[in-house]
Symmetry: C2
Subunit: 424 residues, 2 copies
Amino acid sequence: MKIYRYPETKTWPDLVRRPVFEREEISGLIAGIFEAVEKDGDQALIGFNKKFDKAVTPQIIVSEAELENAEKEISEDLKKAIQQAKENISKFHASQIVETQKIETVKGVTCWRENRAVEKVGIYIPGGTAPLFSTVLMLAVPANLAGCQEIILCTPPDCNGDINPAILFTAKLCGITKVFKTGGAQAVAAMALGTESIPKVYKIFGPGNQYVVAAKEYAQRYGVAIDMPAGPSEVLVIADSKAIPEFCAADLLSQAEHGSDSQVVFMTTDFKIFTETVEAVEKQVKKLPRNEMAGQALDHSLFILVNSIDEALEFSNLYAPEHLILALEDFAPYIPMINNAGSVFLGNYSCESAGDYASGTNHTLPTNAYAKNYSGVSLDSFVKKVTFQHLSKEGLKKIGKTIEIMAEAEGLIAHKNAVSIRLK
Amino acid sequence: MKIYRYPETKTWPDLVRRPVFEREEISGLIAGIFEAVEKDGDQALIGFNKKFDKAVTPQIIVSEAELENAEKEISEDLKKAIQQAKENISKFHASQIVETQKIETVKGVTCWRENRAVEKVGIYIPGGTAPLFSTVLMLAVPANLAGCQEIILCTPPDCNGDINPAILFTAKLCGITKVFKTGGAQAVAAMALGTESIPKVYKIFGPGNQYVVAAKEYAQRYGVAIDMPAGPSEVLVIADSKAIPEFCAADLLSQAEHGSDSQVVFMTTDFKIFTETVEAVEKQVKKLPRNEMAGQALDHSLFILVNSIDEALEFSNLYAPEHLILALEDFAPYIPMINNAGSVFLGNYSCESAGDYASGTNHTLPTNAYAKNYSGVSLDSFVKKVTFQHLSKEGLKKIGKTIEIMAEAEGLIAHKNAVSIRLK
């Protein structure tokens, strides 16, 4: 832990700096993978499964039987939990559907926007130490609500060539019928380029390691969009004297356990809460199965004593955390002060893991200070808003002169003509 | 013109293909410009103004006196036109502000989103053959409505070191007080990195040539967001037998005059409309001051006879045009069929130039088939939507078990603990 007592604002830019991600090093590797996938399609993916995942996968697509079997392999309790989470996520994301509002800017000039789903979307779900079936919910539920026509999912196989059953069960529950056994940069390449079995998509979603992140960035040169740039996961907790140190510690650790590069920041005005939270973290971390990873994340975590909650929020806006927890008795007055954050958790009972799984909010959020300029994933991420306009002859008459004058002043005479020819 | 009669669908992928943009060639140049701006700041910009724009600009920021004088240099008519356009753009974009809706997904679990403006935004306005003061309106008006705290504008000086007065007048009208004399990739670099006089921004907007486009792409590695990727401007017109060939021709030419790389597509079911539109284009183009550029754009334009309006819309969805004009008597039934388009103009009096200037819609739109996965600029482009949640103890009790089961199944025990510790 790095401990700071009342740091001066001039030191803040150093404190909020995130670890730098070495992109140049791996860019050659990514280009090579894209080239292989473009050239050899499914065969390249089968080869990469063998090479990177030690898996033999004669077929890339998950079979109907595998999807069916998955259901039998997971407990009823887990099924029910996934179902409840899905309901809440559906409810919150459905509330984001906005009715079309037609505006007559001038009599006879009517303008509006309509949502149109991104037709083909690809979801990437990492394998590795945690089977993130919760992320399947977070991406497939809004994709379905938005009306995406084709929703595919790629995830790496284990060494037996299988996919975690909870991922398959959740995918099927969300109506995804095309799941593919491929991971890492090659999965992203396959969704960007298309192969014999994997359709090319228009937008790629989902988390991943630095290879996946770099591949998503690289994929954009093929005209594909991505959900957002990414970095390691983050939480910033602001606590007052009424906060409960054990709760704060548990929240900080639920971030730290994600990986050794997780970003953990704790700020308080209260010295007692400060020391007790440090103690609680040290006590709780020992009992975690992922304590080694969490310990490494804690090594570079920041514990900061501040003069006021206002100051903490100012720091938080500069830091722009993915998750911001206000462990404050009276949090309401501070809400308008929050400018840069992905998702905000208010009060002592709004733990980050509620939003990670089941409250209904999305857990795909901007990291790495991108909360300054990006929103988290929502229904909006799966639609384009198309503008429509209708002008009657009278409407065009009302604004025609304006268009003609402006077009002429910009030297665009054909733009002017398009009006003049209609009004003469 | 390239003329196609009832092309088979298997030929469509070739027909919709856009010209390929050679990005590798100029990437070294762009990196060099960023390096120079990072190292020498304003001095680098002053040097580039001399080198690229033949302009002597001892000071990069436009002075208060220059902003004041601009008003005197433009006609009252133009001022009034800009003012009317501003009102309509304001009206339409203000209608995009959506009220916060709080959702109780489960009793005691309340979730909602709030808009927060991107604090610092930069607007790029190209110089060159057309002084695009209309683009100042399209970007500064929603930025102001969104509540962006810092809105800056960069545009290249002419060879006298001056900025077009209509650009300055419009900037001032929209409340932009910081205008900088710098253009091209170096302007983008300055906004991404910051210099002595130009503040670093969080998001960069605005059109430009291939150097500007490449620089915006490059800028993203510094954590800056951009409005959208870009390519040459486009229009696709679908006409039925009641369309008016002279109107269609004028719309096609108002696209063609943008530049020799403009993309112009005309589709109709009616042979008479087809031949008459071709004739009208050939007649009208001769009278245009920018007829050379328009002629070059027409050389690669597509004029396509189709079997039905349905078929034309299918082609259009594959093409994903920036602007789509439905010159149809009965356009309403076709609206739901439109999936991929930036902005749609309905009927014979909705010319594209209405949306370019004054109807109220935004003219910063996705090109290069990006209408498949991007929206045009709107109020949304200037805000992030931050998620908030509040759980009461009872609320957490209701979903706690779900969170615990899911977290455990993902192997994330600290996530589970954050709930357990609160409920025990």
